[in-house]
């Protein structure tokens, strides 16, 4: 028993709606500012809007957004000819823990339909407001789940899920929620494992979110 490794599955964190609204941040990327931005603000979501992500403002992807509502047309042209799809691929590469919801009512052809396949969810622009808010709230729950964040941390650190290193990190994390030195050890490992500056920053942002969730779980949240 003394030597048994702890698992991330022990961290059973489920945020209340108020906590979810308080802790989460979302970004809407659409060439035309959609009314849903105001609906989200009215419903107390913390939301920012950008008409596009380009090479000049791409650093915002490294920020602590949990969910991105992403349009297809007229966005992401800096990243490739597939517009929103090219941007989606970039976001997933840079910050794999961000939940991206495909937000379009455009008829996409078979080449472009990877936009729906590679996203975490689909929200039709035609959807009703309450339905849209429900889908976005579900997306945020997914984004701020320990499973999603841990998966993102592993991806950005280049660690294979289920590997010995994964198990070692899980053990450090769960034990670290009770003994701070273990968390420091894990933080150092994350910094060492992600050699690229941007990746280290994102790895540490994910780590902070995991710690917050873990603490909330310990407190019975």
């Amino acid at each position: 028993m003394w030597f048994s490794k702890r698992s991330i599955a022990e961290v059973n964190a489920s945020l209340s709606r108020d906590e979810l609204l308080r802790k989460s941040r979302l970004l809407v990327v659409d060439d035309e500012r959609p009314d849903i931005v105001d609906d989200l603000k009215k419903a107390r979501f913390s939301v920012d809007y950008e008409s596009d992500i380009t090479r000049d403002n791409m650093h915002i992807i490294e920020s602590s957004y949990d969910l991105i509502l992403l349009d297809y047309g007229n966005v992401g042209k800096s990243f490739g000819s597939d517009e929103g799809l090219s941007l989606l691929k970039y976001i997933k590469r840079i910050n794999p823990s961000v939940v991206v919801i495909a937000y379009t009512s455009k008829a996409l052809n078979s080449d472009q339909s990877d936009f729906f396949r590679l996203s975490n969810g689909v929200l039709n622009k035609d959807a009703g407001i309450s339905e849209s808010l429900e889908i976005i709230e579900d997306g945020l729950k997914e984004a701020l789940s320990t499973q999603n964040l841990w998966r993102g941390l592993l991806t950005i650190s280049g660690i294979k899920p289920g590997s010995d290193q994964d198990k070692q990190w899980q053990d450090l994390f769960v034990k670290g929620l009770e003994k701070k030195d273990k968390l420091h050890e894990l933080k150092n490992l994350i910094s060492k494992n992600t050699s690229i500056e941007g990746a280290t920053k994102i790895g540490l942002v994910i780590f902070e979110k995991l710690v917050e969730l873990g603490v909330s779980s310990l407190l019975g949240g």
Partner: protein, 355 residues
Amino acid sequence: MSKYDTLSKISPFPTVNLNRVSLPLDGLLIEIPAICKKLYFRDDKCKRHYESLSTSNISRLLKQCPHGFSSIPFEINNNRIALTGIVPFPRLGGELERNVAKLNPLSKLDTNKLYDAINALIQLVENVDLLENSIVKNQAMALHEIRKLNRRIKQTAERICTSQNPAEPDLAETELVQIWKTSEIMSQQFDIIEILAGRTLTELPVDRVIEIHKILLKCVKIYDPFKAGTFKISCLPTYHPKIYACIKTFPIIFTVLIENAIKYATGGSPTHIKIVANGRLCEISVSNISEYAMIDSSIFKRGARGITDKDGSGNGLYVAQLVARQHSSNISVETLPIQNEKMVCTFKVSFQTVN
């Protein structure tokens, strides 16, 4: 439409698709010789002749078939096609060719004119393609713009209804709720049009876990916002099946079945919706009482209609079936005659549930 489909419709001469060899199709001016229709199925000589043209790298070179006619292969992009049933001049030679020339004077053709005809056909097919692509693109743009306008109506109506009655927006001012729900129905119709315009939506993966109840109740709410008793839903209260679905297309199945049931129900009779478990399958049936008509699986064909004096394009069930197949299922229909020339019409569909 494939390049061969287009070319075969406008070619004056018989054509054969060398990418998928089968009996040649008649040309607009010259039909395939009667003897060809007979000989093609007698043995595999004709088929082998065309297959040799399909595998050869040589283009635009006349080759005589085993029965004396000639064929000339050519390409449009990667589509390999041949004009066939021709007797060329100057002749390729041989007794068989002399015989078919005597019997088929209309099939005789100057070889130079044949090359001109091929060039003209290729040009025409390419122009038709350009035109088709431009129409599809423009239609998609037009549909997108109409969807945007409808979205504005729908969401504005929902906002006003919610501000009037935040707890139960469906019970806001009747006319407003009607505007809201009608625009929701329009959104569903746009999805159907999109699938009819190009079936790529039904090629999307079925990879999201959804609760059937939620989708079904949403559809019911659209068609009966005032709970006027249009629907009788029966399901065990503890049974809440989840399935893998494509979130963009799955609701179409319910909206089409429900809309059809309402449209054809007689005398304000309700639509019965049943959800039952059958092992790992979740079976859904939508029934109504309507005027008797012969309805069988042919109702799922494109443009098929049950009772023709009702509005409708006959495309709804066709699209619903495409979506059901996308979800590895199939919609079936049963009719049970009852008194006074009425029938109970039941559409059934089932899905594999997930834990």
